[in-house]
């Protein structure tokens, strides 16, 4: 087994573990921290896939901003009461998950995926190449994304604003 395989398995194991913690921890803050860990691990996986730019953006946007927002809201609401543990949807959830995982695994294993990657150049995944495709081929989606963010900001302000009498 090569060193890259070992790194991958280590990361994958940790990632699955932290994802499970996101779902099965009862304390919301613990869930959030597990999710931060998962995001960080995914970012490292991105870096190993020669997508350093996206990996860093992942940390910057997800771990640095979105998750802090989550924590902020958790602290603001401070839901002290632990959520009730009801077994109702457990079986259902497991069933769905198993079916889904099975289906995906079946699809993947039938798929003739290329085992050897494309021989990447130095420029692959660099900020320049990402920027080039963003601002040439994908310039319209890019603009739409910015409008989407604007709408989200306005929506969030409207939703969370206190009603003044």
């Amino acid at each position: 087994m090569t060193s890259s395989m070992m790194i991958f398995y280590l990361l994958a194991a940790l990632l699955v573990l932290s994802s499970l913690m996101v779902v099965f921890q009862r304390n919301v803050v613990h869930c959030a921290m597990a999710l931060v860990a998962a995001l960080f691990l995914i970012a490292i996986l991105f870096v190993t896939l020669q997508a350093a730019m996206v990996g860093v953006l992942q940390i910057l946007v997800y771990a640095g901003a979105i998750m802090v927002l989550f924590l902020f809201v958790i602290m603001l609401l401070n839901p002290t009461a632990l959520e009730p543990r009801r077994g109702l949807s457990w079986g259902f959830g497991m069933l769905v998950a198993l079916l889904l995982a099975g289906a995906l695994a079946a699809l993947v294993s039938h798929n003739e995926a290329p085992a050897d990657p494309f021989a990447a150049t130095e420029l692959f995944g660099a900020p320049e190449s990402l920027a080039k495709s963003l601002f040439t081929d994908f310039v319209l989606p890019f603009e739409i994304a910015s409008v989407l963010l604007l709408i989200a900001i306005v929506g969030a302000v409207v939703l969370a604003k206190r009603e003044h009498n």
């Binding site: 603001l76 609401l77 206190r162």
Partner: protein, 396 residues
């Protein structure tokens, strides 16, 4: 969503600030109701430093009360001494000689400078401007040294006596005061540059803790708190005592009644107090510093040690106390924080029947919830700083 679904308030957080909180000077507690950082309500709890001043005074002779008054507003103990002595003298119906009166004015004003420097310096350093705070404390330290040179103690001075002062000014006092004021003026200029014209400081202070003129009067506020709203009430001007009517000074007034006005009032009062001290030192007449009345004045040590009459005289005054005629009186002086009144009741014995102090900062704390309501937690700090609550006086 149902039409009648009223919006519930967000979680209201109750926070107990104090009694051992760095900004509460150790001895006061605010029970806050917060919404986020905003103060919805503030319940002030005082009394953590209550030590039974009134009850203790009833057990002591009239003279023995003086050390207790030191411990009221320990930032301006000389003013307390003077106020108490003047009240007792009013009850007896005597007046001290002019030199004594001038000395009392001088020490009162030194104590006022000390008090205001403490207040402004602490408020500044609590807001993070520690350097400016230290400059003021440096100025304060010089006054402390001078007071130590004069009275023998730095804080609890017990300098004033009923019918006089403990002893005359030391020889080079005027010279030292002149030197000291030079340095204090320089330090205050530095503080002015660091604080009074600092944008952050102004933003933190102005329009915070505002109280209107009517409310301030209604809450019985006095001192810089009241003057910052524009009410011209200074006991030294309205009910002149000692020789204040012979000295030229102004009463700085504010306009808005916010923290910044209070701060500026105090800083300007320091300048006025320095003027008063300079004038008083210039006009200082020669003469005795004690009234010439053996009923109230201890005999000289020479007589005590060498003659039986002197010894008996000394013994009577020390053991039985000064005989104050029965009656009651109220006398107020302008303390560091406002009208410092003494209400004394005598039943004719050597001990006071009742000693009541009108504590200006206790009354100011009664208005505190009004000052901070609607502001942020951080605004409690400068507001409380500018109220200048001194535990010894507030809780007695």
């Amino acid at each position: 969503m149902k039409a009648d679904a009223k919006e519930l308030p967000l979680e209201i957080m109750e926070l107990q600030m104090g009694p051992s909180h760095p900004a509460t000077h150790g001895t006061i507690k605010f029970n806050l109701k917060l919404e986020g950082e905003r103060v919805l309500d503030c319940d002030v709890e005082v009394g953590f430093l209550h030590r039974g001043f009134d009850k203790s005074c009833e057990q002591a002779t009239w003279t023995q009360v003086i050390p207790y008054t030191d411990r009221l507003n320990y930032a301006s103990s000389l003013i307390n001494n003077v106020g108490y002595a003047l009240a007792v003298e009013k009850l007896i119906g005597v007046e001290t000689p002019p030199r004594c009166q001038y000395i009392r004015v001088i020490v009162s004003e030194l104590a006022r400078i000390y008090d205001h420097l403490t207040c402004c310096g602490m408020a500044a350093s609590e807001m993070g401007a520690i350097t400016a705070g230290f400059y003021m404390i440096e100025a304060r330290e010089m006054i402390t040294r001078l007071v130590e040179n004069l009275t023998g103690a730095r804080l609890t001075v017990t300098y004033v006596r009923i019918g006089g002062v403990k002893h005359d000014l030391p020889q080079d006092f005027a010279e030292r005061v002149k030197q000291m004021f030079k340095t204090i003026r320089r330090l205050l200029e530095d503080c002015d540059r660091l604080l009074s014209r600092n944008r952050i400081f102004i933003d933190r202070m102005s329009n915070i803790g505002t109280i209107s003129q009517e409310s301030a009067l209604n809450y019985s506020l006095t001192g810089p708190m009241l003057r910052a709203t524009g009410v011209n009430y200074d006991v030294r001007k309205v009910f002149p005592y000692l020789v204040y009517d012979q000295l030229d000074f102004e009463v700085p007034l504010g306009t808005k009644g916010d923290n910044y006005d209070r701060f500026v009032c105090r800083i300007q009062e320091i300048a006025q107090s320095m003027r008063i001290v300079e004038q008083a030192l210039e006009k200082l007449p020669v003469g005795p510093v004690w009234i010439d009345d053996p009923r109230f004045v201890l005999p000289e040590k020479e007589k005590v040690y060498n003659s039986i009459e002197g010894l008996m005289h000394h013994f009577k005054i020390i053991m039985e106390g000064i005989q104050v005629p029965p009656g009651e009186t109220y006398f107020a002086v302008e303390g560091g924080n406002g009208e410092l009144g003494f209400y004394l009741v005598s039943d004719g014995g050597g001990r006071p029947y009742r000693v009541r102090v009108r504590p200006p900062c206790f009354i100011a704390m009664g208005a505190f919830h009004e000052l901070v309501k609607g502001h942020m937690i951080a605004d409690i700090i400068p507001t409380f700083g500018m109220v200048n609550m001194i535990g010894g006086e507030c809780d007695r």
